[in-house]
């Protein structure tokens, strides 16, 4: 190896296998989740496991962590066969899985969470002194400067993640499996996490890292294993890791035009905010314009006020000052109904909590926003029109579902996101606000969503999208607005766009500093 990561004492994996997966297969009725998958993990190695949604990553991780058991194949730890038939068994072998949705008790403090279920006790009473002392030790290990008595719910997601890692370390984990750990972290928190992960590697802990963000995989991974359709699709060593190679392995074909940006002439101003003040950051006045056929990126760190700005533009949290104009007419947006009336739509950040009716049918989700427009007299449903719209959207967005009557919960993340999009496209919005439209969905679905955004822009829709993925911001936008702590810090035209320029503004610099 002898790569560039020398400062952290990176150890080459090959040669000292800690964990070995041999010909592991797993079937569910009707689907082959894993087929004779091989995988090796060295001591003190950071291994990234990549693949589209449904490629088998999660199943493999669940098998390693004892959540599910394999149908066939063997697991070796230090060269000896091991059975991972329960989470307890996996933990006793030192394998811990940190779920994407963290498993912390938000109402308890940090120390209690770290020792949940195995509290040190004296004569049957919880020894809170010991908890404090021991918790502090593990918090120091991950470099988290919070008091063990802090309630976990009061911490940021990034810090909660650190608590999870501290918890894993407290059971002497030798293998840490992390499933999309950065999906809800700010850039700064992610940086801190990477530092901790590299620190763990230096101490000989192995990390299996799952992420859809190829940039961070490139930064972190010693090796990449790619799964496709439940089989090994290939492997890349540190010096071989490039964006193109990873994508190609994942989808099994070249993606020549990942972002298909074509220059367009922007049309009339559709939406304009003047001196707008959101209730979350009332001290800052925000002015912006969205023109027809324009894709505007809204960049910034997590907590910069981007989501809050979209919420105000959509009437969810009404403005405390300033005005919004659509087509030159002032619009008072007191709730989403006001925004929808003038053709503004919002794809929210959290599709399960805010976007979907999970227990309702795909068709009912798709028609939810347009029901009212299409209703018959006296509020009766227009079922024919509803069927038409659903068919149209399922075709147009290539939503993979067994039928329109399928419950939305059972769709994959990418297809769920397409359903949320379809709900609004059925209403033919003129301004589309999108908050992290590709979070947690696989590469294929991402590309389809990018293509769709392009198509909408060509049709004259004005699009304002928030994204924490730099590549996406750079690839999709005609223009980027950058926010920093509630303030609109600057604007970058496509020709001025660079990662550095965006980051400078996002961290509080100015456009001129960047130039």
């Amino acid at each position: 190896m002898g790569g560039t990561e020398g400062e952290d004492g990176a150890v080459s994996a090959v040669g000292a296998p800690l964990l070995e997966v041999r010909r592991v297969s797993k079937r569910f009725p009707g689907v082959r989740a894993l087929h004779e998958v091989d995988c090796v993990l060295g001591a003190g190695e950071i291994l990234a496991v990549l693949g589209e949604n449904g490629a088998g990553k999660s199943t493999l991780m669940k098998i390693l962590a004892g959540v599910q058991s394999a149908d066939s194949g063997k697991l070796f730890l230090d060269g000896a066969v091991v059975e991972m038939d329960s989470v307890q068994a996996a933990l006793s072998h030192g394998i811990a899985l940190i779920h994407q949705e963290l498993n912390l008790a938000n109402n308890l403090d940090v120390g209690a969470n770290i020792f949940l279920g195995r509290e040190p006790a004296r004569m049957g009473w919880i020894d809170s002194r010991a908890i404090r002392r021991e918790a502090q030790r593990y918090l120091d290990l991950v470099g988290l400067a919070v008091d063990p008595g802090t309630i976990v719910g009061d911490l940021t997601v990034g810090r909660q993640q650190m608590v999870e890692i501290a918890k894993a370390l407290s059971v002497d984990a030798r293998v840490l499996i992390m499933d999309e750990p950065t999906s809800s972290l700010s850039a700064r928190e992610a940086e801190q996490l990477f530092k901790v992960i590299k620190g763990l590697r230096a101490r000989g802990v192995s990390v299996i890292y799952i992420s859809h963000r190829l940039g961070e995989v490139k930064e972190l991974a010693d090796r990449v294993v790619v799964l496709r359709d439940g089989e090994n699709a290939g492997e890349l060593l540190r010096e071989e890791i490039t964006h193109e190679r990873m994508v190609k392995m994942m989808v099994g074909r070249d993606l020549t035009h990942f972002y298909s940006h074509e220059p367009r002439a922007a049309g009339d101003v559709l939406l304009e905010a003047r001196r707008l003040r959101t209730p979350v950051h009332p001290g800052h006045e925000i002015s912006l314009q969205i023109r027809a056929g324009e894709v505007v990126g809204l960049a910034g760190l997590v907590g910069a006020g981007r989501t809050e700005l979209l919420a105000t533009l959509f009437g969810v949290t009404p403005a405390v000052g300033g005005i919004v104009e659509v087509d030159g007419q002032e619009v008072v947006m007191k709730n989403p109904i006001d925004a929808i009336r003038v053709g503004v739509a919002l794809i929210p950040e959290d599709r399960k909590q805010q976007g979907l009716l999970l227990e309702m049918a795909v068709s009912e989700n798709l028609s939810m926003a347009s029901l009212k427009r299409d209703r018959r007299g006296y509020g009766f449903l227009n079922r024919e029109r509803e069927r038409e719209i659903c068919g149209e959207m399922i075709d147009k967005l290539k939503i993979k579902t067994p039928s329109a009557r399928q419950t939305a919960r059972f769709l994959s993340g990418g297809n769920q996101q397409k359903v949320v999009l379809g709900k609004w496209l059925a209403l033919e919005p003129r301004v589309l606000l999108m908050d992290e439209p590709t979070r947690g969905i696989d590469v294929g679905a991402k590309q389809e969503i990018y293509a769709l955004v392009e198509e909408l822009a060509r049709e004259g829709v004005g699009i304002l999208f928030v994204s924490s993925e730099m590549e996406e911001v750079l690839g999709m936008s005609d223009r980027v607005l950058v926010m920093h702590e509630g303030e609109l810090r600057g604007e970058l035209l496509r020709e001025e766009l660079s990662e550095r320029a965006v980051m400078d503004l996002a961290t509080g610099g100015t456009a001129t500093d960047a130039a």
Binding site: V316, Q353, Q354, G355, L358, E359, E364, M368, L371, G379
Partner: protein
């Protein structure tokens, strides 16, 4: 659909079991005889009407514990207005029904605007309306006195086309409720709000108004139920009128497939659920070895067994579905 078949199966099972133990094994003719069956149908209809009401609130994601007390207020207040103040029935009837609706608006206001929890709002309602009724009537039993109210009483105890009149009233209520829930955008909105209020709001639905409508329907139907119950019984005691009826109604709704998490439920299921409750009560009366003293325990255990079986079936189905 599957859910309705499940609850229908339970109804048939309990019906046949009651027939077996009360008639077949004892050689009597008490359950299947016309009078019993007519009575069963009448009581099922009365309880189904209030169960449909609470089903709307449960589908919206809320709960209404005040139904029994609303039945008491309306059921006692109606004859009180007729006999004490000599109001004509054609004035008193619309007035008490409107009072039911207004109670619903009040609940809806507290839940959607003041943002109190439905459980708390309607628990207080349960206490307030009963106390109010006992206060204004000085705890005196209210009847229809000597006045000629045969026409009114026909609504509850009469027959039309050889079936109890309340059955026809239920039919109208159930069809209207079913059309509202399944064929109008408002019904769809109600399911959406119960399923995920935030997503519904972000889809442009006026969620507050939808929830409000659910409470109005619930209290209005409880009021209608109160009128029919008192007409059926001839008089009403402020202390006992409608006691525990909210629990019968909620149990029927839950048995009928309404999830207390909201967003799910069918009118047909709720009606069948109400029927299950009434057949169970009938079986306690007719089957010798079930002591009337354990009525609540018996009903509780049968419902628990029913929903447990349902949950297990659903989990197995979900597992199969996830795996495929």
């Amino acid at each position: 659909m599957k859910k309705i078949l499940g609850i229908l199966g339970l109804l048939v099972f309990i019906y046949l079991a009651t027939w077996l133990f009360s008639d077949l094994l004892t050689g009597r003719d008490s359950f299947l005889k016309g009078y019993t069956q007519m009575n069963l149908l009448r009581r099922t209809s009365l309880f189904a009407i209030i169960s449909i009401g609470v089903a709307f609130v449960i589908i919206s994601g809320g709960i209404d514990l005040s139904i029994g007390s609303v039945i008491c207020l309306i059921g006692v207040g109606f004859p009180w207005l007729l006999s004490t103040f000599d109001w004509p029935a054609w004035v008193a009837l619309p007035v008490v029904l409107v009072v039911g609706g207004v109670i619903g608006i009040w609940h809806g206001f507290l839940v959607t605007k003041v943002r109190l929890q439905p459980f708390v709002v309607t628990l207080c309602g349960l206490l307030i309306y009963r106390g109010l009724t006992r206060g204004i009537t000085a705890d005196q039993k209210q009847g229809f006195g000597t006045g000629d109210h045969d026409g009114l009483k026909w609504l509850a105890s009469g027959e039309l086309l050889h079936l109890p009149v309340p059955f026809w009233i239920l039919l109208i209520v159930a069809v209207a409720a079913g059309v509202f829930l399944n064929r109008t955008i408002y019904g769809r909105y109600l399911l959406a709000v119960g399923n995920n209020e935030e997503a519904a709001k972000l889809s442009g639905i006026d969620t507050g108004r939808v929830v409000m409508v659910a409470y109005v329907i619930c209290s209005f139907l409880a009021g209608l139920g109160g009128v029919l119950f008192v007409l059926d019984q001839g008089s009403a005691q402020p202390t006992s009128m409608g006691n525990f009826y909210e629990l019968y109604a909620i149990a029927a709704a839950v048995l009928g497939g309404c999830s207390l998490r909201g967003g799910q439920g069918t009118i047909v299921g709720v009606v069948i659920g109400a029927a299950v409750m009434q057949v169970l009560r009938q079986s306690i009366i007719l089957i010798d070895w079930i002591s009337p003293n354990i009525e609540f325990a018996f009903i509780g255990m049968v419902i628990l067994a029913g929903v447990t079986a349902d949950e297990i079936v659903r989990r197995v189905a979900a597992r199969r579905r996830l795996a495929s």
